[in-house]
């Protein structure tokens, strides 16, 4: 059956041309169509969501928005729900990821958007979330109210299924009309979210449009960037730089570029009782979504001096990746990915003198560096460098030159060491420290790339502390 992606409130879908996308990873790819939209269509959608947001969303209490999002999430967590079934069936076919990995990943991810998590998400940025509904007293005196941009645009990446949910939810919580462009690599999730929203809260779904155009097409993009007050863009640093170059003057752009994450394992985590679990947790971080998310580690720094040496750890890690691959097989690589995998392995072995361990089918690779040859991206798809170091405290110095790229660090260490390393790493530019094994599942409301998710989007309008007393002088009850 043909699946039409996107969500186009105010447009007649049958009056549009639809473009078939092909996903020929398996024998029979899913049949997916995306709308062909010109700049005029984007203008109409932008006006529709902006007007509807102004008329409906901006007056809605944020608590009601939270309830509506929660209702959508409950639907998507229900494995019998028709949209959830479509997700489990089509997302693996579209992305190539193992169906079980997608199924479990969806549940784990969606759970972080239930009502209690959304309330935490709000509280993280707004000590009093009622500031989104009306003027609230400010600690310094006076009153303030937070206004999201009337129209918020999103340009999403498609490396991991469901990624657009973060920013869509942010847009709804700050009461912005939202128009988001999906990636050709995963064009489905955002539209499904909007369609379920249309069933549980039709008012809200009129304030949200999900669109598509072929990457590189400039006319619809110009229309969207021109219409929006603020744009959030996710993707490679090259494509983000290109978008920045095309921003109309006076418009804001928030960029979320590609990041590199890594793991650090202290000697205390390498005794015979702990090593297998330490390796299993590292393997989980490496293998989830085949390392395509920015949270996944490229390098594991392992401290010398434990009961087991870093080389032994690398071997445990290799076996753990192999076991993970039986349970959740890696996706089939494209020709280009296979070539880059082979080239990376060769470079590791011959240029860096690393000990390369891998399976015959290219399902995973561990490259062990005994002499601390440093830091750099792996070629993804479950490939990782294991680098032996004398002291984990030296690692922040090794990664500091890559400051702009650093994001998550998974740490297996004692509490004192955890905080000591976190201080050094934060200073080097790292924005998130996680337990090993939890790297790819950030908490609700985490500061994405060190930023404030919601308060970055809003403008605070203040009523000066002296304004209400001055207004009293003009009141009908003034004596």
């Amino acid at each position: 059956m043909l699946e039409r992606a996107c969500h186009l409130p105010g447009l007649d879908p049958d009056a549009l041309d639809w473009h078939r996308l092909s996903f020929a990873r398996g024998d029979t790819g899913p049949d997916i169509a995306v709308p062909v939209l010109g700049p005029g269509d984007i203008d109409r959608l932008a006006a529709h969501v902006r007007d509807n947001a102004a008329a409906r969303l901006r007056a809605m209490p944020v608590a009601r928005i939270v309830e509506a999002i929660d209702a959508v999430i409950v639907r998507l967590l229900d494995r019998q729900d028709p949209y959830r079934r479509k997700m489990e069936q089509m997302l693996p076919a579209v992305t190539g990821y193992d169906p079980e990995m997608v199924r479990l990943g969806l549940t784990r991810y969606l759970m972080t958007f239930r009502k209690p998590e959304l309330l935490r998400f709000l509280a993280e940025d707004f000590p009093n979330p009622a500031i989104l509904d009306g003027f609230q007293p400010l600690p310094k005196g006076g009153y303030g109210k937070a206004f999201g941009p009337p129209l918020l645009a999103h340009i999403w990446a498609g490396n991991v299924p469901g990624l657009p949910l973060w920013s869509m939810v942010c847009g709804l919580l700050v009461k912005s009309g939202t128009i988001g462009k999906v990636s050709s690599a995963e064009p489905l999730f955002a539209g499904w979210f909007a369609q379920v929203l249309a069933e549980v809260a039709p008012d809200l779904a009129e304030c949200l449009a999900v669109v598509w155009w072929q990457g590189g097409e400039s006319a619809p993009e110009q229309a969207m960037l021109g219409a929006a007050d603020l744009t959030l863009a996710y993707g490679s640093n090259t494509s983000l730089a290109a978008i920045a170059g095309r921003m109309p003057p006076g418009k804001r752009l928030l960029r979320f570029g590609h990041k590199v994450s890594f793991a650090m394992i202290a000697a205390v985590a390498l005794d015979p009782a702990k090593v297998a679990d330490t390796a299993r947790r590292a393997a989980r971080d490496i293998a989830r979504y085949d390392q395509q998310g920015c949270f996944a580690p490229h390098v594991v720094f392992v401290e010398r001096g434990g009961r087991l040496c870093p080389r032994s750890f690398a071997r445990y890690l290799a076996r753990a990746l192999d076991a993970f691959g039986h349970r959740f097989p890696a996706r089939a690589l494209t020709m280009a990915e296979t070539a880059s995998f082979a080239a990376w392995c060769q470079q590791e072995e011959f240029t860096h003198d690393a000990e390369v361990m891998g399976d015959a089918h290219g399902g995973w690779t561990v490259s062990f560096h005994n002499a601390g040859q440093g830091f750099g991206p792996s070629c993804l798809n479950r490939s990782v460098k294991v680098v032996a170091v004398d002291d984990l405290a030296n690692v922040p110095g090794l990664v500091a030159p890559f400051r702009a790229l650093l994001q998550t660090v998974g740490i297996a260490a004692s509490p004192d060491e955890l905080f000591r390393l976190a201080g050094l790493l934060g200073d080097a530019g790292v924005t998130r420290i996680a337990a090993l094994g939890d790297m790819t599942t950030p908490e609700a409301g985490w500061h994405h790339d060190g930023r404030c998710n919601l308060s970055d989007l809003v403008q605070i309008t203040e009523i000066d502390a002296r304004a209400p007393p001055a207004a009293d002088k003009l009141a009908f009850y003034d004596d």
């Binding site: 076996r319 076991a323 039986h326 349970r327």
Partner: protein, 255 residues
């Protein structure tokens, strides 16, 4: 290992473990009778996979808990392929493995036990009786019954299922003693939790993780993992083994 010229009859081979065993034998050149109860589509897919793998295969519907149906299945296999060298009894009565939803002992009436015993031992009895005349006439043959590692270590007490499989172990050992002098070997393969199969789909991640943590090879079995030991027991390499139980569970059970 070469099974060219050999005929293998596998009960419950439409999907899951049985289908993986069928593909394993077909890859080594065997002719495979793919028995199924209800799901003709899956059985047909298994036949296709066997053909692609280089063997010959036919899908054959039969309810093996019925002795008459079992005899009809054996006769049809012999008609199609001339003889039966290996019987793999993998079918069992429908069962859903779910630690949360399983029946507690005081909720399990005898009918539930009986259904599992019928699916396990009664079916093994009917199938063995049906293949025996031809195997005895040729003074060779091999029977492999599929049980479970729960018989040794019931981590979740699936009373009816595991009791029936335990009976199958006893049944097979007696049969091995009886038939050994006549040139027929009888062995067992006991897999641990195999995922994914239709029966194990309801098993939650927490249990899988707990089992994995206690499994030396640090994962749970896939259907394909079970095929290798079955092929080994069916091969001449296991020619001096009978009445044995191979545990295929990554080392979870050791004995």
């Amino acid at each position: 290992m070469d099974f060219a010229g050999k005929t293998v009859l596998i009960t419950g081979a439409g999907r899951g473990i049985g289908a993986a065993i069928a593909k394993g034998f077909a890859t080594e050149g065997a002719s495979v009778a793919v028995n199924y109860l209800q799901d003709a589509t899956s059985a047909s897919a298994t036949v296709d996979a066997c053909t692609v793998a280089g063997g010959t295969a036919l899908a054959m519907q039969a309810d093996v808990t019925d002795a008459g149906d079992a005899a009809r299945l054996v006769a049809a296999t012999q008609d199609a392929f001339g003889k039966i060298d290996v019987l793999v009894h993998n079918a069992f009565a429908p069962y859903v493995f779910s630690p949360e939803k399983r029946a507690l002992f005081w909720e399990t009436d005898w009918a539930a036990f009986q259904a599992q015993i019928d699916g396990s031992v009664k079916a093994a009895h009917g199938m063995a009786r049906a293949v025996l005349p031809d195997m005895l006439a040729r003074a060779e043959g091999c029977i492999i019954n599929i049980a479970t590692n729960l018989v040794e270590r019931p981590v979740v007490p699936y009373h009816d299922y595991t009791t029936a499989k335990s009976a199958l172990v006893g049944f097979s050992r007696n049969l091995a003693v009886e038939l050994g002098p006549l040139g027929i070997r009888v062995n067992l393969v006991c897999p641990g939790l195999v995922y994914p199969t239709a029966a194990s789909r309801a098993v939650k991640e927490d249990l899988k993780d707990a089992l994995i943590a206690q499994t030396p090879l640090r994962r749970i079995a896939t259907p394909a993992d079970v095929a290798g030991p079955v092929l080994f027991l069916a091969s001449p390499w296991a020619g001096f083994m009978t009445g044995q139980t191979l545990y295929v569970d990554g080392g979870f059970v050791m004995r």
